[in-house]
């Protein structure tokens, strides 16, 4: 019951903005439509067209991609796993890095270490993922040409997968050699995506941890004879997580947007690079489909983070019982 009420509440909170977002091939695409319809000389029954399209979309029918001559849904389903795996890997990297660094910084408690971590995360955060990708490509090409910078896998090695989630599948089926090979391809784009995110989470988590460490309950924990690291992990971390989750959902959404360029730069056949080719080829149904998928991902992330937010903070969630 509690879980259901939480989810329902979260949906209610999110929904006001979202039906509209779902309806218009949105903000932009409202304009997109009009322009394109003028372009194709079919601007007459706009509202009618729109409702027909909406009905189709609700039946998961996005039309045919003019570029691939395949249903849009098929194109998207083929490519979505690439993007999802990239986002997943990047999130894992970002979270691991930022948690390790911020806990370390608060634990060490030395001015020097704090200064280094602050400065490094400040610089890292300022440079967008696009530039990180270019920096990686630049140095890898010049100094470590053996590291792959394009594609998901080496086309020379035969690949055989049931699903589109190659990394996860290889891991589950324990094909570790294949997994390592896939990881070698995925690691640079994932890092490029992850670095700015990791930096901003580090900053936020570190200051939240520092704040929590000066709270009375942390001091009381010291009088119970707990070690500093035990207090950080056992008392402060959970409290510090609450504001971090709030920020991270927005950041994760940016991360999804970032895949557009990262996939392009590393020649990954995901949704993002598909979006660019669709735009270049004026593949309208595909553009609409892709934009909707991105919006859906954004909403999904918001829902998840809202759920996590409630899980992390006992003061929320039970109150509306």
């Amino acid at each position: 019951m509690l879980g259901v009420s939480v989810v329902v509440f979260a949906i209610l909170r999110l929904v006001p903005g979202d039906p509209i977002a779902m309806m218009l091939p949105p903000g932009a695409t409202e304009e997109t439509r009009q322009n394109l319809e003028r372009l194709y000389g079919m601007d007459k029954p706009l509202i009618e067209q729109y409702f027909i399209w909406l009905r189709d979309v609700l039946h998961l029918d996005f039309g045919m991609s003019t570029q691939f001559r395949l249903p849009v849904m098929e194109v998207i389903f083929n490519r979505l796993p690439v993007t999802l795996e990239l986002v997943l890997l990047a999130s894992i990297i970002a979270l691991t890095l930022s948690f390790a660094l911020s806990v370390l910084a608060v634990w060490i408690q030395r001015d020097g270490a704090t200064l280094i971590i602050d400065g490094a995360s400040g610089l890292t955060q300022a440079i967008p993922d696009f530039l990180w990708a270019l920096i990686f490509i630049f140095f890898v090409t010049l100094y470590a040409p053996s590291i792959p910078i394009s594609g998901r896998y080496d086309p020379r090695t035969a690949q055989d997968f049931i699903t589109g989630f190659y990394l996860i599948e290889a891991l589950i089926t324990l094909r570790l050699g294949t997994f390592a090979e896939l990881l070698r391809h995925a690691i640079l784009p994932a890092f490029a995506l992850a670095l700015p995110l990791a930096a901003s989470i580090t900053r936020l988590l570190k200051s939240a941890l520092e704040e929590a460490m000066s709270e009375d309950y942390a001091i009381l924990a010291r009088t119970k004879g707990k070690s500093r690291i035990a207090i950080i992990l056992g008392e402060a971390l959970r409290n510090a997580l609450i504001p971090v989750i709030a920020l991270t959902s927005v950041q994760l959404a940016f991360l999804i947007g970032g895949t557009v360029l990262i996939e392009r730069l590393f020649s990954l056949p995901g949704i993002g690079s598909t979006a660019i080719t669709a735009v270049v080829n004026r593949d309208l149904p595909l553009i609409q489909g892709v934009v909707l998928v991105f919006a859906a991902l954004f909403i999904a992330i918001n829902l998840i983070s809202n759920g996590l937010y409630r899980l992390a903070d006992p003061r929320l969630g039970k109150t509306d019982e």
């Binding site: 309950y217 001091i219 010291r222 009088t223 119970k224 004879g225 008392e235 992390a312 903070d313």
Partner: protein, 280 residues
Amino acid sequence: MSLLEIENLSLSVRNVRILRKVSLKVGEAEIAGVVGESGAGKSMLGKAVLGVLPGDVSALSGEIRLHGENLLKLASRQRRMILKRSLSLIPQDPMTALNPCRTIGSQVGEVLSLTGRRSLRADVTRWLDAVRIPFAARVAKSYPHELSGGMRQRALIAAAFASRPKLVIADEPTTALDVTVQKDVLVLIRDLQRETGVGLLFITHDLCVVAKICGSVTVMHGGRVIEQAPCENIIRQPGHAYTAALLKTAPRHDRFGGGLEPVPESLVESMIAEAESFDD
């Protein structure tokens, strides 16, 4: 040998002197009061004993001995063992001293598990019962925000006594509470102290509270001990003008309508002058 002996403790934070050669003793199973206005350094005294001073302490000298062992000389690991086994704190503000993300039960229970006990849940409930929390089993599962300030303070008191310490330091444990529950909490602390026979260092600004429960009293001002005596004596015949003035600031039932008197400023000034002449 007393349970706790503080000898010539001096302490500065950011080069401001907080404590000046403070000495005091707490005997086994004794309640020793420390009284003073805010800024007298009494809370810092408690923190020094517990070793949770702020990070910017610039000078620390003297001795704090528990069972004759100087706490200030111990390595941090040994010190933590002492904290786990022998010392505990009843904090001032129950609204902030409980971790909002953990259940009451886990926060009371962790001191039990630290002392290596079984059947944790039953023990937690027993302790919550002991501090007269109704529906103890249910409260153990709830989070701090679901309880009133008085209930939280009871839970904190349970946690402080549950670890079976030798010495409990109560740092203004009733200040943040409603007047209506202050007395209950006070009586509760005294009763628990009697049952468990721990030493209790009771820090407060309120001489009335001291009069109710303490055996001996240390009056502090400006980081310095003004007067030390058994409680009765101090109430009847204050040995120092400051103590007398402090007594007059306390509301009393038998002097109704007489009005409250602030500590005379001239007295404070002369005391500061006196203190400074000592330092040099």
